[in-house]
Structure formats: C-alpha cells, structure tokens
Point group: C2
Chain length 413, copies 2
C-alpha cells in the first residue's frame, strides 16, 4: 500500500488565521484511493523550512501532496523547491503565459510581471502540468525514483477541482488497491450505545472494516472494503451493511457522507407528494434554513413561521392565550397548537413546530435549559415529543432541528 | 521570541474524517502570546511515528503543544511517549481516580478499568497537571532544559477551556513579549480594494503590523502590536486604528474576532429600543436564525416570515397578486411589499425582506442566479437594494443574510 504525506504551505495557516480544510479533503480522497496517509504537515513561507519539510516527506513517504505556495509573490516557493529536489527543469511555457494574460485581462487589468513566475512549469518529461480552471497558477506532478510529488494551489476552490480532475486519476493508476465504502447515517442513538451493539464488527472485522464516528448530534458508521473492482467491493460490503440495517432499522436515515437529514426529508416529501410547513420559536428559522438549503425544496415547502414572541404565536398561528397562560410557551400544549395552527394557515399536509429553552438564560428548575417540545400535525392528528437536550445555545438549537426533521421523517415512513 | 510546534494526534484526523480546528485555535492563541508557530503536524495513533514526531518537534522548537491521545484506549499514547522523552515519572493519582469515578457515575455507569490510564500523571516536580472540567482525561505540562510540552485532550470542547484556563497563563509567563491586537470587521468592500486603500500600512508597518484577510463575505484587518503591557499595546494600536476608521468609515461594523453582523444589529436595535421583523424567501429562515443566535434577541425580535412560495407572500404578507404577475417574485416591487407587509403584520419598527434566486436552478438571462432584492421598511418609508451575488447556493444565501443585516444596521445608524 502506498504511503503519503500532505504538506500545506502558508503562513496564514501556521498562524491560525484559517482552518486547514485542504488537508481534510486530500486525506479523505487519498484514503479512498487506498493510499495510507501517514503524516500531515503545515509549514510557513520560509525557504529553508519548506525545503526541509519536503525532503523529510519524500524520504519517508511514496507520495507527497503540497498545497499552497504556487502564487506570484516572492513568498511562493513550492514549485522551485520541489523541482530542485527532483532535479527537474522548469521552463517558461508560452501558451500558459498567453492564457494567463487572457484570464487577467478579463478583469480589465494588465498582468503584473511577477505573475510570469506561475508560467514556469516542468519541462516535457520532467513532470506533468495540471491545468487550473479557477485561477492563474497551474499545478504539477513530479515523479522520479518511485517518489511522486503533487503540487496544488492553496485556495480550496482552485485546489479541489484540480485534484479531482488532474491528480486523482494519476494517483488511482499508481495505487494498487482501492477502497470502497458505505457510510451509514444514524440518528436517535448515541455513539457509545451504537458502538456497543456492533462491538463484534468493530473489533473483529478486517475486510471490510467498520468504524463509528460521532457527527454533531448523530452517529456515522463507515464500512470500508479493500478490493480490486467496484463489483468486488460491493460484494464485500453488502453482508456487513445488511447486519447494520438489522441492528439499527429505521434509525439509519440515509447513506453517504453528503446525505443530510433535511435532504432525506425533502426527498421523502417529494416521493409521497406531501407538503410541509414549519413553526419555529427557539430555532428561529434554522429548520426552514435546513429545508431550503436542499435544491428543489420549493416543491414541498412554502410556508415557515418564526414565532419568536408569544404575541406572534397567538397572532399568526392562533395559539390560544389561555394555553400560553396556563402552560407557558414551552409546553406540549403550545407545541401542539403551533403545529396545528401552521398546518391550518398554510394548508400544508404536515406541519412541525418547536418551542423550547435554548439558553444560556431562560431556564428554571421546572423548565431547564435544553427542554424542547416538538409538535407534529398531520392528517392523522397532532402529537408532541419532549426533548431534554444538553450543550450550549447553538448545540440545543442544532439538535432541535435534527429531532424535528427526524419526527417529520418518521411520520412519512 | 519563543518558537512552537503543534502536534495533533489522531488517525481520524490523518484520514481526513474531521477538520483540524484544534490546530487553528492553538496557532491563533500562541501567535497572540508572541510565540512564533513554525510547524504544525498531524500523526496517527502509531507509537513509533508519534515518538519520532515528538522528538523532532522538541529538537527544533521551544514549545510543543499536543492534542489528542490522552484517552483510555491502547491507542492513546501521548502522555507515555512525551514523559519518556522528558525522563519524567508518571504516577497514579488517587484524587484523580476518585474524581473520574464520580464523573462517570453521573452517567449511571461503572468506570471501565482502562480509564485508570488517564489517572497516571506527572509526579510532583516532574510536571504540572491541567484539570479537565469537561471530560475524564486531565492534561499536563512537562518542562525541562528549556523545552516545554503541553498535552491537551483531542475533543475541542475539552481542549479549548483547558488551554485557556490552564496552559495559556503558564505560556504567557514564559513568553517575553506579548502581542496586542485590534480586529476591525468590515463589510461592503472587497479584500483587494480594501488592501489597496491601506497598502502603505500593510507594506511599511512593523509595529504594529496590519494584515488583511478575507472572511466569508467580509474583510477583516488585524492590527497587531508587540508591547510589554496592555497600556503600551493600546497606545501603539490607537493611531493605526484611527487611520483605518478614517479610510473605511461605517464600513467597519464591529471590532473583535467574536463580533458578528447579527450581534451588532441586535445590539443597535436594543440601544435604540427598536424591534425588527423579517420576511424571507430565498434565505428560508437564515436571517431569523442569525438574529436568534444572539442571546437576548427576544428583546428586539418577535416575528419572522418564511414566505418561500408566492402563495405565502400573498396570504401572509399581503403582497399583491398583480405585483407578482407584473414583476415576478424576484423584483424590487415584491421585496418592497414583503417588507411593508411584514412591518404591518408584526407591528415592528423595522422590517427587512429578501427575495432572490439562490441557484443552482431558477436563473434566466434577465434574472440570473445571484440576483437578490432586499426590501427595508421603516418609519421613514420603504426602500430596496439590488444585489448581484456570485457563488453557489449557500454562498448566495449567506451573502444575502449579511447584506440584509447590513441594510438594517445602516438604517439604524
């Protein structure tokens, strides 16, 4: 199995001004190619330390992926440094110069001469040029004596397409085996309890492996098989996935890293030709935001009510003043009337409402911070769910959104 | 100036399952203490590679901060590895054992015996113990021969308080100089244009330094002075900050890393004793979410309308059918009627409305993706702003929220 190191170049990373999302992206992609990531490093724009880091990485790994340091300024040194280590020649590529001039002219500017630096690229035979469709700095690949260096730009919107289109196919050929995964997304059980239920799989499985990890408010299981073809990968994954479905049933709400609870709910609503309305107090619009982040949500969602004040609950949703007086805003009675009111006013098939105490203030011994009621109104009637959530304001609100959407999901299933 | 390296330990980081937010946090804090961060490294739960990384770091930096690897499993090796490098002894601390048992008993569970590992801590004189108020693994500091190692847990909600309360005071004493910063938060001008305006400051300033960096949809300038006291720091920072206020005026909406546009708006509303209502189409609740994420928002915000469907714009806000037919949902006319309707229905002093095309679908040559209208209704009347935003769906929505809140801010000033 090939080994890899990721080196991110940039003083703003080193000083903590930005988070290293590039490393996460590259580590995930490399791992998926069956390449074992052994090291991740961040260095600043310092020639000596960059060279030392590159040399060390090339001595201890087969593949080294660099991001950053490909720009036009004097601080940008990655290409020159790595070319020297590989004994490769950099030549001025006229087509690249012309292309850069055209790209910058598109901004009504003339090209600063130091941009020419970016057009010095590996000579034919010394390396592979990776085109940049989102910026002026091309990347490149150097290869010699069993070592591969991939040089990518720093900005994520330039780096990611270049890696996926230019570098990954090359690395896929290099890597002997490939990893195939199924990612099960689970809501309604904690990580420890879930891991206990399939402890034998986690401990004993070698191919595929089963690994749990906690995401905000939910649990994810990644089942990973090493195989020589997608078909073989699927054959290895299927029985393990079936076991997981037997264990967790409908707590598994979706598969895939990109899946979301909101996306799952919108798709279910679409399939069943149902519409949804929302009535939010403590979440203040977060449920509506989540639903509308899904392209095509307009087919299933039209009305959302943020009734942050009691007055709004009464005036907009028809929650009765007597209910608020007798039970308070945070009560199953109020949640039920909010949901029924949202359904009635909007004409939607289903309405979900939330009312709770997100904190930090507002809690009492009877009604502590984290107490939230979810109301759900459908053709079958109105029901409520009581939640006791822990954590800070944002955590209570985020968990409430997941719980509310999950209640809609279960009502649809 | 002291030098530092940050070593994050954890295979899930290495494999790209999570982003290394710990490194960003620590790098930012260390830089603020006047400690120069030269290296950041990620290693997996591998004894040999962890030891090599620790040894290399201690050879090339004065301070090494570790996160992760303090847990109860066999993979958790940071403490044992670093203690060995320092020739320090780890002893079982009975008070710590008792405290751990009590903490875990709070979850109605008995303590697995391997948790005892976490109670092996530096013996008196060999190191300093850092209490963990949010988990079972204490951290510690080893110090010898001019080298300092700080060991912190992996989970951010345990690591950050432990660093701030336990490690930072110790490192502050160690570091000779200290950095003092003012962070100016700017909206309404791009990073390049802003940097050009104060190019002389960025290029020539040595103490304080001025550094721009782009945040999502806004620009931040960090002015940093090295000084021997807070008072001296303030004296150095003031004239540079004044120059920035002369250059950017009310585009500077707040100071401080933690400031937000929503927080600024809520505070202004509070100061002026005004209430706000929101009417959202394409943002689907994101403006309401932003406002309600600010503790105390209930004093100034009570009503939010998510009128995602045209039917909802008509029924809830009273937008006229003729307006929608003649101009469409995405028009200044509709934005104005949405804002006026939200103000009327809610009785708020100010109402802000947004209607636009977030994408990826829905665009036409006349009304492309990214076209958004903001409507603002106040006692002074109703006005609209036209935006042409670029980027994907989430970026258009996020930028719309900032623009809408900034419109409210300017109306209040």
């Amino acid at each position: 199995m090939l080994t890899a190191e990721i080196i991110a170049v940039g003083t703003e990373l080193l000083m903590g001004q930005i988070v290293n999302t590039n490393a996460k992206f590259l580590a995930e992609r490399l791992t998926g190619l069956g390449i074992s990531v052994l090291h991740q490093t961040v260095v600043g724009d310092n020639p000596r330390r960059l060279r030392d880091a590159a040399e060390l990485a090339l001595s201890r790994c087969d593949v080294v992926v660099f991001t950053g340091g490909l720009g036009p300024t004097d601080d940008d040194l990655t290409k020159e440094t790595v070319a020297e280590l590989f004994g490769a020649e950099l030549k001025l590529h006229q087509p690249r110069v012309d292309r850069m001039r055209a790209y910058i002219r598109g901004w009504d500017r003339s090209m600063p001469e130091n941009n020419l630096k970016q057009a010095y690229l590996p000579a034919e035979g010394d390396g592979i040029i990776l085109p940049n469709d989102n910026g002026t700095a091309p990347g490149c690949i150097f290869e010699k004596g069993g070592k591969t260096a991939v040089l990518l730009p720093g900005p994520p919107r330039e780096m990611m397409p270049m890696f996926l289109n230019g570098a990954e196919p090359h690395l896929r050929k290099l890597s002997g085996a490939e990893l195939y995964s199924r990612v099960l997304r689970i809501f309604g059980i904690g990580e420890s309890a879930a891991a206990e239920q399939v402890d034998d799989l986690i401990k004993n499985q070698t191919n595929p492996t089963v690994a749990p990890y906690a995401k905000e408010g939910e649990v994810t299981f990644r089942i990973t098989a090493m195989a020589n073809s997608p078909e073989e990968g699927e054959r290895l994954l299927a029985p393990v996935a079936e076991r997981m479905y037997r264990e967790f049933g409908d707590k598994i709400y979706a598969e895939g890293d990109g899946a979301t609870m909101a996306g799952t709910v919108v798709e279910l609503l679409r399939q069943k030709n149902k519409t949804l309305a929302t009535a939010e107090s403590c979440t203040g619009g977060m449920i509506g935001s989540a639903i509308t982040s899904v392209p095509g949500a307009s087919e299933v969602y039209g009305f959302g009510f943020i009734t942050y004040a009691n007055e709004a609950k009464e005036q907009i949703l028809g929650v009765r003043r007597e209910t608020l007086a007798a039970h308070g805003a945070v009560s199953p009675e109020t949640a039920a009337e909010m949901a029924a009111g949202a359904k009635r006013v909007s004409g939607a098939d289903i309405a979900v409402a939330v009312t709770g105490i997100a904190g930090p203030g507002g809690g009492t011994p009877e009604k502590p911070v984290g107490l939230v009621y979810v109301g759900l109104a459908s053709e079958r009637g109105v029901r409520t769910v009581k939640l006791n959530l822990s954590g800070d304001r944002e955590r209570v609100r985020t968990r409430t959104v997941l719980n509310a959407l999950d209640a809609v999901r279960r009502a649809l299933l």
